[in-house]
Symmetry: C2
Subunit: 222 residues, 2 copies
DNA sequence: TAAATAGTGTCTATCAGACAATATCGT
DNA sequence: ACGATATTGTCTGATAGACACTATTTA
C-alpha cells in the first residue's frame, strides 16, 4: 500500500463563491479547524468521490450542498492546480470552480449549525493567512470574471432572479472595481437586446417599486 | 486492491498542439494503436507520474518530450475534463494543455521512429472518428485562442523566433478564420508598442530579405 | 416641492474598417 | 521598368465616454 501511495494523488475541488456585499466584491472563506494549515482561511471544497460524482462539476455541486446547504447553483470551471508541494500530505490536484450568489442569498451562507467559521472577505483585501494556494484560486477566478464582463458578458449570478438594470450595473461595477456610466451601460444592453444575443429579457409588466420611480425588471431568458 | 480502484481515478494530460499550415490552423493527432478507441484519432498525452512530475504542467512537458521529442515549449492550461464515462477503463480526469508551434517546426513533428501515425488535421474539418472527448478539447483550445487574440493578444508561438508583422498577421488571420486588414493590424501594433505593453519588440537592424522589399523583424521581448 | 432613483438625449474624441498611396526590394 | 511585398496615409462611419436632461415615484 505504501508504494502505491504516490501513484494516486489527492483529487479535490475548491469553490470560489463570490457575492457583492455593499459595493465590494467578496468571497466566502472558512476557518480551517484541522491540520494542515489549521487556523488559516480556506475555500470550501470537497474530495472527489468517484462512486457518487459523475464529474468534477458534480463534486463541486456536492461541496455546495454539504458545506453550505445550498444546491443547484451554476458553477464555472476556472483552473486546475496541481503539484507535490501544495498540500503537505501528498501529491494533489484541485480544480477550482467559481459560483456567483446574489447579496440576499449571501446572508444565508453565514455560520449555521452545519457550518462554522464562514465569513465573507473583500477580494481586494483578503486575509493574510490563507491556506494552501487558495489565494491564487481567488485571484484567477476574479480575473476570469473581469475578462468575461469586459468581453460583454453579464454576471447574472450576482443579481436576484428578477433584477433591474441599475442592480446589474452595480454588480458589474463592483466586479470591475470602478464606476460605470449609466447611459453607456444601458445603451450597450439595448444594442444586444435588439440583436437578441442577451442572456436575459424584459420581465413584461414587472416593476420594482417601493423606493422611488418604479424600475423595469428583467430575468434570465427561459 | 479492487475496492481501492474507484477511489483513485486515472489522471492524465492531453495536448492540443496547433500550427498554421498553409493558411489554415491545424492540430496534431495520433492514430491510436491500442484499445480503447483503437483506430481513432487522438491527442498526444501522458499519464501523471507523481514521482517524476512536479505538476500537471510538468506532465504536459514530459508528454511533449516522450511522444514528440520536443522540449521546452510554452503550454497553456485550457480545461479539465472528468467523469466516469469518458474513458471506459475507469473514472478519469484529463487536463488539456495547448501548445503553439511555428510552421517550420511543425514539419519536424511528422512520423519518426519514435512516433508513428502523427498527422496534422485542419481544426475546422477534423476527422469524424475521434477518440474519447478529444474533439471537445480541441474546440475549447481554439475557442480560447480566438478569445485571446480578440482581446489584443498575439499568438507568438505560431511564428518563428524572428518574425515579420506580415507573418504575425497571417497567423492571427488563420486562427480567426478571416482576413485582417494590413493597416489596421499594424496600427494596433504601433499603439501597443508605444505603450510598452507588447510581448515583443523590434529586432533592431534585423531584416528579412530574399523575396522582395526587406521586412523588419521582431522578436519576443527579453 | 424636494430628494432620489429611472431612464433618455446629445456632443465629441477616438477608433476600426476600407482602401489608396508610397517605398524598396528581386528580376 | 515591372511585379511583389512592406509600410504609411487618409477618409468615414461607428462607438465609447462624459454629462446634461427628462420622468416618475416617495416623503
Amino acid at each position: 500500500m505504501v508504494e502505491r501511495r504516490h501513484l494516486s494523488p489527492i483529487v479535490a475541488v475548491d469553490l470560489v463563491i463570490l457575492s457583492v456585499r455593499g459595493e465590494r466584491l467578496e468571497v466566502l472563506l472558512l476557518k480551517r479547524q484541522e491540520a494542515p494549515d489549521a487556523g488559516k482561511w480556506a475555500l470550501p471544497g470537497a474530495l472527489l468521490d468517484p462512486d457518487r460524482d459523475d464529474s468534477l462539476e458534480a463534486t463541486a455541486q456536492r461541496a455546495l450542498e454539504e458545506k453550505l446547504g445550498v444546491g443547484a447553483i451554476a458553477v464555472r470551471q476556472v483552473h486546475t492546480f496541481s503539484g507535490g508541494k501544495r498540500d503537505p500530505r501528498d501529491w494533489s490536484i484541485s480544480t477550482t470552480y467559481c459560483a456567483l450568489v446574489p447579496e440576499r442569498e449571501a446572508e444565508r451562507l453565514l455560520p449555521t449549525p452545519l457550518t462554522s467559521g464562514n465569513q465573507w472577505h473583500p477580494v481586494q483585501d483578503p486575509p493574510s493567512r490563507m491556506a494552501f494556494d487558495h489565494r491564487a484560486m481567488i485571484d484567477k477566478s476574479v480575473e476570469q470574471l473581469v475578462t468575461h464582463i469586459n468581453m460583454g458578458g453579464y454576471p447574472l449570478g450576482l443579481v436576484p432572479r428578477l433584477f433591474t438594470l441599475s442592480e446589474l450595473q452595480a454588480a458589474c461595477a463592483a466586479v470591475l472595481g470602478r464606476p460605470l456610466d449609466k447611459s453607456v451601460f444601458r445603451r450597450q444592453v439595448k444594442i444586444l437586446m435588439s440583436a437578441g444575443t442577451l442572456p436575459f429579457v424584459e420581465a413584461e409588466g414587472e416593476f420594482k417599486t417601493g423606493t422611488h420611480r418604479p424600475a423595469q425588471l428583467y430575468c434570465e431568458r427561459c
